[in-house]
Symmetry: C2
Subunit: 364 residues, 2 copies
């Protein structure tokens, strides 16, 4: 792609599609034409891009003529049908759905983490399909990957606090609509989610494997992390929970390293990591929140501390006021386990931004 | 107390105080007179109890004359000043604040867990002050204590999803008011909480210890669990997060036992446990939620599954679709670590109900 590529967005009217448009504009992504596709239902709508109105076109099997890069975010069924057609027509597909993520030969890429997965392909500039990982996985791996390089990772226990945007614009609309209804005394009517979402939270709305008890979201976090890190043995226990937040995911992480680290070493590693911003002010009690992360490119990281359950516990009386308060850790003591809390914009780094960053790798 | 006791509620107009009144009524708690106290500001208000109006009286140093049982829920400062006066006047104080929880000789009681802590006192019927544990601790220990008896507990990693009610009626009002403001396009104005709470979540609003990085809520969960279990060595790593939910706390728990258990054994243990209700329907994706727990006495328990990070990981290729999906666990395989998700009403079992249950123990 020595000349400027022609870019397409498939699913341009969805929450992620609209964010892709915003990210392309904000990053001044160099391209020739930009074509926007959506279903018949949404076609004809007009959006503004770089100061000009653009009309959404209906997606057809002939839409990919002379497209160089096609960003897909219209669900797995659309990707399964249209992505191979786009590749056959000569496009490189960057697919935000889960359709191809675990396929052999399809790179699953977080640019800060494993851009090298693209370089390993026979023709890195024409790789066919590149998969964008699941939002929860991306947000987890941006801060954990540099820690893995520095200290090795033995085990991860992670609980998520996932926004309604993970279910798209209709998920966000349901949260707002139900909340309005509840505040006016009406009963919420769940449609997108299987549980009421206003002032409520619930186990992630993907099917649960009867054999393992893991839901699909949790399975993705395990499988995709193993693929991205090329480490089939990494041990991960995820619990995925949907919370009444609009567009940023948070994750409470307990991580055990293979080699001990001090708190300062962990902090320095994260401070230097691409795509990470430390928000960790203990004195002011200011840490990552989904509101702070919304609209931001970085994954916010805070509540960084040695895991109080990982060190030898001091042998003192339970009944004494002083004993349990005594700190088993200090800044200089090396430790194998740490806790941290992160927030990242699900629509940006969790989806649209990561996809555009992959497109930028194609141009390098 | 062979005759019916006279009962007082201190802080009767607060969120917990009102719930104490409801619980006394619903459980037909046998008492002679019931006296309701609050600050000067709230005194004079009228509430209904057992079909009759009752007037809130201002709390004074002479309020405890002929009170047998005083339920305190008006904050630590009020407890520190008035609870010793109540004891001197002959009352038994059941204190919902944190003022005396870690004091030697003050039992810290969850009736389903350690009622015996009261029996160990010199005069169990006149114990002076009995402390009600922190809400997050109570809700954690109701399901974990029977598992501890059955299998021993080595380590707990817990992330909380805590309701606004933990900050009282004013916390709930702030969540509703801010949410209304945001939905109408206005900016939220944080007063009770240090972060915006509408469609947001944040690290718990208690001070963070600069030495350990733990906030006060997390410290309470560690210290109180050790005292209630009389086990100064139990290893706990808590992360406490406030979520935009009104009145029930949820907790995502990873627990490591001392002795291996099968999933069925864990399930049977919890099914037989007092104060626990299993809500664990994998096929229908129905699990505990704060809405389901609101107004309920039981702690709801679900998402019960063997921890996928605790078993030997199968040595297979990452790139294969089949490999990462293969389940390392089945129902009959013993395992040391399990994951579960729980929800419990913060105002009931987390506060008012537990206090009234302690009062019921005094009558036995």
């Amino acid at each position: 792609m020595a000349t400027l590529p022609t870019v397409a967005i498939v699913g341009a009217t969805g929450a992620v599609g609209r964010e892709m448009l915003a990210v392309l504009e904000q990053r001044h992504f160099p391209h020739a034409d930009l074509r926007l596709f959506a279903s018949e239902r949404s076609a004809g709508a007009s959006v503004r891009y770089r100061g000009e109105p653009r009309t959404i076109q209906p997606l057809t099997e002939r839409s990919f003529d002379r497209i160089d890069i096609a960003l897909f975010s219209a669900g797995s069924a659309v990707s399964r049908h249209f992505a191979p057609l786009a590749v056959r027509a000569g496009a490189t597909v960057i697919d935000n759905s889960s359709a191809f993520r675990m396929d052999d030969g399809v790179p699953l890429v977080v640019p800060e983490v494993n851009a090298a997965a693209m370089a390993r392909l026979a023709n890195p500039r024409r790789p066919g399909i590149i998969a964008n990982p699941n939002c929860s996985t991306i947000i987890l791996l941006v801060p954990l990957s540099p820690l893995r390089v520095a200290f090795g990772i033995e085990r991860i226990v992670v609980s998520t606090y996932q926004a309604a945007s993970g279910a798209g614009a209709k998920g966000m609309a349901e949260l707002q609509g139900q909340t309005r209804a509840v505040l006016s005394g009406a009963a919420p009517t769940p449609e997108v989610f299987h549980e009421p979402c206003a002032f409520n939270l619930f186990s992630h709305n993907t099917p649960v494997d009867p054999a393992t008890g893991l839901n699909v979201e949790e399975r993705k976090m395990i499988d995709e992390t193993r693929k991205i890190w090329n480490d089939p043995l990494v041990r991960i226990s995820p619990t995925c929970i949907r919370v009444p937040v609009l567009r940023a995911h948070s994750e409470s992480i307990n991580v055990t390293f293979q080699r001990p680290a001090t708190l300062d070493q962990v902090r320095q590693c994260l401070a230097a990591a691409p795509g990470v911003r430390l928000v960790d002010d203990r004195a002011a009690n200011l840490f990552p929140t989904p509101l702070k992360a919304s609209g931001e490119d970085d994954v916010l990281v805070g509540r960084l501390r040695p895991d109080p359950s990982s060190a030898p516990v001091p042998r003192t009386s339970t009944e004494s006021r002083a004993a349990p308060g005594s700190a088993p850790h200090n800044r200089s003591a090396p430790c194998l386990s740490f806790d941290l809390f992160i927030s990242g914009d699900q629509l940006r780094k969790g989806a649209a931004l990561n996809a555009v960053q992959i497109a930028e790798l194609l141009r390098e």
